[in-house]
Symmetry: C2
Subunit: 357 residues, 2 copies
């Protein structure tokens, strides 16, 4: 897999002696100490982590901050376009970005299964650090637990994150970027094609072979969002399109804001190979998870300008206005298809893609 | 078990319809929505959580903040004196307290195993909220993942926390409460008897029966620490005595500070039933986990005053000065026993008590 090429640094834990994670690596004794001092601290190395205390401390100027958490249980751990480590960084960075904040600090909590290959952990940890550097965040505190073989599944990672809300748009004085701010007349922007992360993982799991490998869209979205804010775009709400995909994100917002959202099917970009994989597996790309896609609700008057800003960034090159918010009726998401018929896009009731993130 | 009595509020999710956690409860669709809206939001209810956004936002006055994380994988989920929910709150609150900060906000990340009883989750969630109220923190953001049966173990919980460092002791200007601050001449304070949490859990697991049930010492330590700081006690370092117990905490600090710590065995309080249980299982209470015990290094001149402050609080009623820091030699922890002989207290190399927190 492509990721292998980047992992040229050899593992600092002597793999011939400790080829696998033992229960003692979570026991608070010498082996856990070796894991922290040998692998985590030098890899994530920063002054705050180096203090080696129960909690990291940092100076924050007064203001508004965002705080979020996500656990990552994706299977397989490595997939085209990413792995659980980069996903755990990007996912939390994106949640911070969705609150309009600049991601600053992450925590990392590992739940390892006894018998996990040390080499696998090493690859994941390096990938986390590379992703953190790319997203300009520091991993400043962490924790490791080990559970018996058969009581976990390789690696679970939790990351929590802190970001600083820097924008001071007059229209947002005292108000949040939040679902409750969405208003009739807002246009709905999407930064690119949907369904790639979910289908990259399902293609590996189901052994589907395509001409080109579908790669996850996993990416940190903060710089894109901060560009919009820096240019003075009024963002009423944003959401990244993870579990449950575009359809679920829109339904959550429609319900929280009590509004009707109408989309235009022909404007929603879906790559041909993703569409093909969805058809083979009987899935609807509207419900498939993404890890580098988000929607933003902005006033109609600012829509075209916001679109141009998004398109000027590689992560938003295929951005589109895909819909709008109608006069307040009931909480509803509808889609107009290519022949003009409207259908209701409901929230998923069952489970479509387990362990996707 | 005693905890049952407190759970008088009936579960807001219709248990007859959803007696167990399904994969779909983590899928981003209707069932996950129901879990969040029905159980988590009303139970942890606060204005920040109510915004229902990807990240919670909060106003922080400028200053120094602490940030920490811990995952909790304890088995059994319920034990005398606590459960995984209260432990997940107290443990993270205590890590924030150890940095000398006032705990403010927590995140909660759940990794649930398919088939988990809904009733069990409900008990844990209520216990978390009760513990949060007691510790005066708010759970303001969260995440839920579900893994297939046999890929987890009931419930794993990650909590991350943010605390405000409020103390402005002149001697600490620009310096942290951190291992590197410990100095020769410091005395070592302990707030009570050791080994109870670990032995409470081991007694349940091993089916040991004693006249009285050993109860975990799990408790939030922040108010105790904040009292010391408010009274102007100079705290060079603190650490809570979780995994690896007193011995491991002291070894970590001795190594980080490059100092020798000497303890007096006769001054370390261990309850008789805990000592008995340790002997039956061949364990040393010095290495057994606690969840409501901490050590503090303070200058000798302030030792007695600090002791008096600790003893005035129920959580420190049995506090003692158990040792001191010698002139800098090598990084070493030693203990003088009742007949005057000194022995080296090493860091644990193997695994003593798995899944204790």
């Amino acid at each position: 897999m492509k990721e292998n090429k980047d992992f040229s640094v050899s593992c600092p834990i002597p793999i011939e002696r400790y080829p696998q994670i033992l229960m003692a690596h979570g026991g608070g004794g010498k082996l856990m100490h070796q894991l922290i001092e040998g692998m985590f601290v030098p890899t994530f190395g920063n002054a705050m982590l180096n203090v080696r205390h129960d909690a990291a401390t940092m100076n924050l100027q007064g203001g508004r901050f965002a705080f979020t958490t996500d656990s990552y249980v994706v299977q397989p751990l490595f997939f085209p376009g990413g792995d659980i480590g980069s996903l755990a960084v990007n996912g939390t960075v994106n949640d911070l970005a969705m609150a309009g904040s600049r991601p600053l600090y992450l925590s990392a909590g590992f739940i390892l299964e006894e018998g996990l290959l040390m080499e696998t952990l090493w690859r994941v940890v390096q990938s986390m650090q590379q992703a953190a550097q790319k997203a300009k965040v520091q991993i400043i505190t962490g924790d490791t637990k080990v559970v018996e073989r058969g009581k976990g599944d390789g690696i679970f990672i939790n990351t929590a994150g802190i970001g600083r809300v820097e924008h001071t748009q007059p229209c947002l004085a005292g108000a949040e970027i939040a679902p409750q701010r969405v208003q009739p007349g807002d246009v709905l922007l999407l930064n690119g094609d949907i369904g790639r992360h979910g289908m990259a993982i399902m293609a590996v799991r189901e052994g589907l072979a395509f001409e080109n490998t579908i790669e996850s869209d996993s990416a940190p979205l903060a710089s894109l969002v901060l560009e919009l804010l820096a240019e003075g775009i009024t963002i009423h709400c944003m959401r990244d399109l993870t579990r449950g995909g575009l359809a679920s994100a829109l339904n959550e917002i429609a319900e929280a804001a009590g509004i009707t959202i109408t989309m235009d099917e022909s404007r929603i970009p879906v790559r041909e190979d993703v569409q093909g994989a969805c058809e083979i597996l009987g899935l609807d790309p509207l419900y498939v998870a993404n890890e580098g896609r988000f929607i933003a609700f902005v006033p109609e008057a600012e829509g075209e300008r916001a679109l141009a800003i998004l398109r000027s960034d590689p992560l938003g090159a295929e951005a589109c206005i895909i819909g709008r918010v109608e006069a307040k009726q009931s909480a509803l998401v509808t889609m107009r298809n290519r022949i003009g018929t409207r259908r209701i896009i409901d929230m998923l009731s069952g489970e479509q893609l387990p362990r996707i993130c």
